[in-house]
């Protein structure tokens, strides 16, 4: 086998240019597959981490139907009123955090504009952490204060201790926060009551419920759902566990990954056809040599193995190079995303199964593409092959 492989390698080296071109065909396909699949993995990794941060014992109450328009910005700014005291009596309901996400008109030092504001209940930072990089966070019951995102603080030229006007009311900037993503750093955090007063509403746009220790998250979510229907008389709110949300997101990412992988797969198929073409040419070109090998005693199976190894090795070479290039592309993409969006939106990571899988698969693509040409070579009649000019 090793010796047949040596003959195969000789064959490949003999027509270097064509071998390389064929290998590049496979390389492109595998590069695309590896880059896209690993990018999907990076995204899933980042999503999983952010969900773990929030905790799987948290249930979200959002306006609208479950699944319908999940994640759309409108669902985040549609506000609703809710009897929090009654909600807290539902079995299994622990801490309740309230959020209201709106746009507000802000004026500071001559600059003004509309920015996103997040009104939060005092306890909200026990649900998710916000990193305070300057100043401090809110104190319980504190009013008329604001925490600015690093990005927007820079744009407005404000630091901790400064004041700004929100809807013509003065607020003290007590702290500056940074977030995982620069996208999330252009908002302003206010006490919920202040935001509600500014907008003249009692509403919230999202309620977070921590399930009390010892209670099942799914069951508690069902009880909350039942309570909401009983107290409101309609299903205008949806209750989602983090697990459900995570699942939806993972599924979406999975579909995206499969779709991209499929497109990349087409490139790989084209590469495979390139291998087949090259191998048919090689068989034709080396007809006489095949005849000679048969004359000196090669069995048909040995001829087939030589050609299968040739095509398989081209696949493997393309696969190895493609895997390297693909992970390099992924690394570049993740690095670029980090630089553009900040912090850790994506994580660079390439799994060993992807590497092995990609290489194994590319060898397989090569070998399968070589199957018919190898068969054609093995089936050649030695006398006719020797006579071939």
């Amino acid at each position: 086998m090793v010796d047949l492989a040596r003959i195969a390698v000789r064959g490949l080296l003999h027509r270097k240019k064509r071998s390389w071109l064929t290998i590049i065909g496979i390389l492109i396909g595998i590069t695309a597959v590896v880059a896209l699949v690993s990018l999907g993995e990076s995204m899933q990794l980042a999503v999983r981490r952010s969900f773990e941060e929030l905790g799987y014992d948290v249930v979200m109450i959002l306006p609208g139907e479950l699944g319908g328009g999940f994640g759309g910005p409108s669902s985040f700014s549609t506000s609703f009123e809710l009897d929090v005291d009654a909600l807290s009596t539902v079995e299994g309901v622990g801490e309740i955090g309230l959020l209201n996400f709106q746009s507000v008109y802000v004026k500071a030092d001559g600059t003004e504009g509309v920015i996103d504001a997040l009104g939060v209940s005092d306890n909200i930072f026990s649900f998710f952490k916000v990193e305070i990089v300057a100043g401090r966070g809110f104190r319980p019951g504190e009013r008329g204060v604001a925490i600015l995102g690093q990005e927007i603080a820079g744009e407005l030229g404000l630091g901790a201790g400064d004041t700004l006007q929100i809807e013509d009311r003065p607020f003290n900037v007590v702290g500056i926060y940074s977030a995982d993503s620069r996208l999330d750093e252009d908002a302003i955090i206010l006490p919920l009551v202040d935001l509600q007063e500014l907008l003249g509403t009692q509403g919230v746009t999202m309620v977070l419920v921590r399930v009390a220790p010892g209670y099942d998250v799914g069951r508690t979510a069902e009880r909350i759902e039942a309570f909401l229907y009983r107290s409101r008389g309609r299903r205008d709110l949806s209750v989602q566990t983090m697990e459900e949300v995570h699942e939806v997101v993972q599924r979406a990412l999975g579909i995206l990954g499969a779709f991209l992988g499929g497109i990349a797969g087409i490139a790989l198929v084209v590469g495979g056809i390139g291998v087949m073409n090259t191998m048919y040419t090689a068989v034709l070109e080396r007809t006489r040599e095949i005849g000679v090998m048969k004359a000196v005693g090669a069995r048909s199976s040995q001829i087939a193995v030589i050609f299968l190894l040739e095509s398989g090795l081209m696949g493997l070479a393309g696969g190895a190079l493609g895997t390297g290039l693909g992970s390099l592309l992924n690394f570049a993409a993740v690095t670029a995303a980090k630089r553009a969006l900040g912090a850790r939106v994506l994580e660079y990571g390439i799994s060993w199964w992807l590497v092995l899988g990609a290489m194994g698969f590319s060898f397989l693509v090569g070998a399968i593409a070589g199957l018919l040409p190898a068969r054609a070579a093995a089936k050649l009649d030695p006398v006719e092959a020797l006579r071939y000019e």
């Binding site: 010796d3 047949l4 003959i7 000789r10 064959g11 080296l13 003999h14 006489r288 040599e289 005849g291 000679v292 090998m293 048969k294 004359a295 000196v296 005693g297 090669a298 069995r299 048909s300 199976s301 040995q302 009649d381 030695p382 006398v383 020797l386």
Partner: protein, 232 residues
């Protein structure tokens, strides 16, 4: 007294189908009876297209007859599996062709190794024997050369080394000197004679009288039939 036969042809016909739809039938051999005895040096002479090469291919188990029987050491090759025929070609027969037919991607050494690779001989043993055979044909210094870096005579000497490397019983040469100048042809012929001297049965197909003269027995073939022969 008749010696032991290594190959026998009994009423052998070989009909090739040629052309685009394989409709044209060419009768390459038309009822050939021939007996090659162990240790013989036989020359088969005839013009081109007379069926000489076909005869050689059948004797070397490279092809099967359309009609009649080819017996290799008494066994009908038509009833043998392709793998068995490949094994006979590998271990018992050595081929030398007019156009040398070396694998262009392999060095002289690699070409001589080739039959042993298919025989499953371990690498160390292979190199030893290949070098020994190359030395015997005087090409020990040229082992790293590719065929296109060798002269015609050198290529044919590599081919002879390759044909002999698995110690065959039967050496079949198809116009071995046909592409060589007289002097080089003589060298090649003496290598073939040397093989015969070493106990190998040799059948040479040729239209070169000098080659035929080196043989112990000569036969004439014309239009697919043996038309006469001479002894000595």
């Amino acid at each position: 007294m008749r010696g032991e036969a290594i190959v026998e042809l009994e009423g052998v016909w070989k009909v090739y189908r040629m052309g685009r739809r394989r409709r044209i039938e060419v009768e390459a051999l038309r009822g050939v009876y021939l007996r090659v005895e162990r240790g013989e040096f036989l020359a088969v002479m005839g013009p081109s297209g007379s069926g000489k090469s076909t005869l050689l291919h059948l004797m070397g188990c490279l092809d099967r007859p359309t009609r009649g029987r080819v017996l290799f050491e008494g066994e009908d090759i038509s009833s043998m599996r392709p793998a068995t025929l490949a094994r006979i070609r590998n271990r018992r027969v050595g081929f030398v062709f007019q156009s040398f037919n070396l694998a262009p991607t392999l060095t002289a050494l690699g070409n001589v190794e080739l039959p042993m690779i298919f025989a499953g001989v371990p690498r160390g043993e292979r190199l030893r024997r290949a070098r020994e055979l190359l030395a015997r044909v005087g090409l020990r210094e040229r082992e790293r050369h590719l065929p296109n870096e060798l002269s015609g005579g050198e290529q044919q000497r590599v081919a002879i080394a390759r044909a002999l490397v698995n110690s065959p019983d039967l050496l079949l040469a198809d116009e071995p000197t046909g592409n060589l100048d007289t002097e080089t042809g003589r060298e090649v012929l003496s290598l073939i004679s040397g093989a015969h001297g070493g106990g190998v049965t040799v059948v040479v197909v040729t239209h070169d009288p000098e080659v035929a003269a080196a043989a112990v027995r000569a036969l004439r073939i014309r239009d697919g039939r043996i038309v006469g022969g001479t002894d000595g």
